[in-house]
Symmetry: C2
Subunit: 289 residues, 2 copies
């Protein structure tokens, strides 16, 4: 199946993916002048990216999808992460977005190439922008931390090593639950940070990439542990610069937040991360588990 | 839609659920003499229950489904947990089970009544057996720990309070990730145990229910922290006694393990909990997220 040309305001695209991921997408062609940027993440972590983009492009319309019914992605297989990512992208395409930001490091690690090859709009992940900023800063030794899936994918490692940089990486599975528990400081958070980062510190890295959208909330603690000689980099700001050539600064500053599950604690978590009050809306995605 | 009578070895059941959860199930009528028990859990935690059942009923056939593609359930809404539970039960029914054990406290808390009212076979959860054992032991003050969803449901609290017992409960969201990280002892695990259980200890409880199938792996640490005056109860052993009247001790000791996602670390985690080598098989469930 190949993409058809857009004959009218509505057209069916057959996404160019392996048969097992085959999806058909009804594109609502965006006839308004408004620029609409779509973001998705496994849950609420990608809101750190949304916040940075809204600050940089305040007039643009944004639509965010958090796949909270299947969160987290970081402990799942590559094949499952790719399938979930395509289903999230399909929903956002149907909402008429002009540009997609994969605001999840796990999804960026495994699904970015499939999404880029499949969608008729520009697609950006959070890996490459982080790598660029690390390369600007490092003298040769970079640390990378992320979920099990992100680290297993070697997405950061491969890009950095291709530029001749020495890379040390470590999966930190307890960081996401720590953040979601609101334990951003105190003895438990300090002990967990030391547990995961002690070895990286001893390697003498000068740059540390926070390879997960939840981790910026632990940044003060991580910076304190690593010391002033290590620059700690998160992707949220870097991605804002990356998409700049593709952004028309036209819109009505609209923001829609969708989630595949709304638990009792979701609203307060959204407000904590986003720093504004905004009601999350529930959405169902057609899929197979 | 009402259940039809079984006219042949295959019959369609329309599960008696609210319309939004409507499912139709093809029952593979079990024509063999073998007893087949089905269990499901959000992931690997329910394997602690499977292990206890296999020990008690070694001749019986077992089939286990871990919904690892959507794990965990404990941070999701009641509605989503009910839907996922029905989809898991549908798969197991199609495999011809004679009895269902919901080996997940979150699913037991929210979905047990819907499952009992919908399925044409006996259905057991892990809440009531734990409550019974607690009532046998306590002099009047019981503590309950579990996931956010289990604690919010007040499933344990309501049953215990109906018997005149004073109940103190606490959600412990970091316990599951701790177990899955293999951090069953050491300074981090100790600090997290103290963080969650300090208040319960000060209340002077004499019985503590481990209201999550992952928690038995932290039992030694929890017992040490709570001290010898507190009896720590897990559901795995209690459920084995509970189903006894419904178990025919006939079968070929067959065990099938199914998971909705197989990540690189799954096999070793299965072996760690189950204590035997057994290959997990991948299965897709038809569903909506």
């Amino acid at each position: 199946a190949k993409p058809t040309t857009i004959a009218s305001a509505k057209a069916t695209f057959f996404i160019l993916t392996p048969p097992k991921f085959a999806l058909s997408i009804i594109i609502q062609k965006n006839c308004e002048k408004n620029m609409k940027i779509g973001l998705f993440d496994s849950g609420v972590g990608g809101l750190t990216v949304l916040k940075a983009l809204r600050k940089t492009y305040p007039e643009v319309d944004f639509i965010y999808l958090g796949d909270t019914a299947r969160v987290p992605y970081g402990n799942k297989s590559a094949q499952t992460v790719i399938r979930y990512s395509l289903e999230c992208a399909e929903f956002l395409l149907n909402e008429g977005i002009d540009l997609l930001v994969v605001a999840c490091n796990t999804a960026s690690s495994y699904a970015l190439q499939v999404l880029k090859g499949s969608l008729p709009i520009p697609v950006f992940g959070v890996i490459e922008p982080g790598v660029k900023r690390a390369l600007e800063n490092t003298k040769g030794k970079v640390g990378v931390i992320g979920t099990k899936a992100t680290i297993s994918s070697c997405a950061y490692k491969n890009l950095l090593e291709a530029k001749g940089v020495e890379v040390y990486q470590r999966a930190c599975p307890l960081f996401v639950p720590l953040v979601e528990e609101g334990l951003l400081e105190g003895s438990i958070a300090e002990a967990v940070v030391e547990h995961y980062l002690k070895d990286l510190k001893e390697k003498g890295i000068d740059t540390l990439i926070l390879g997960c959208t939840h981790y910026p909330l632990l940044k003060p603690l991580i910076e304190r542990f690593m010391g002033p000689q290590v620059k700690v980099i998160d992707s949220a700001q870097a991605i804002a610069l990356e998409i700049e050539p593709f952004v028309k600064r036209e819109g009505s500053s609209k923001l829609d937040l969708y989630f595949t599950d709304i638990s009792p604690s979701l609203q307060s978590l959204v407000e904590l991360i986003l720093g504004e009050v905004k009601e999350p809306r529930l959405v169902s995605l057609p899929c197979k588990v």
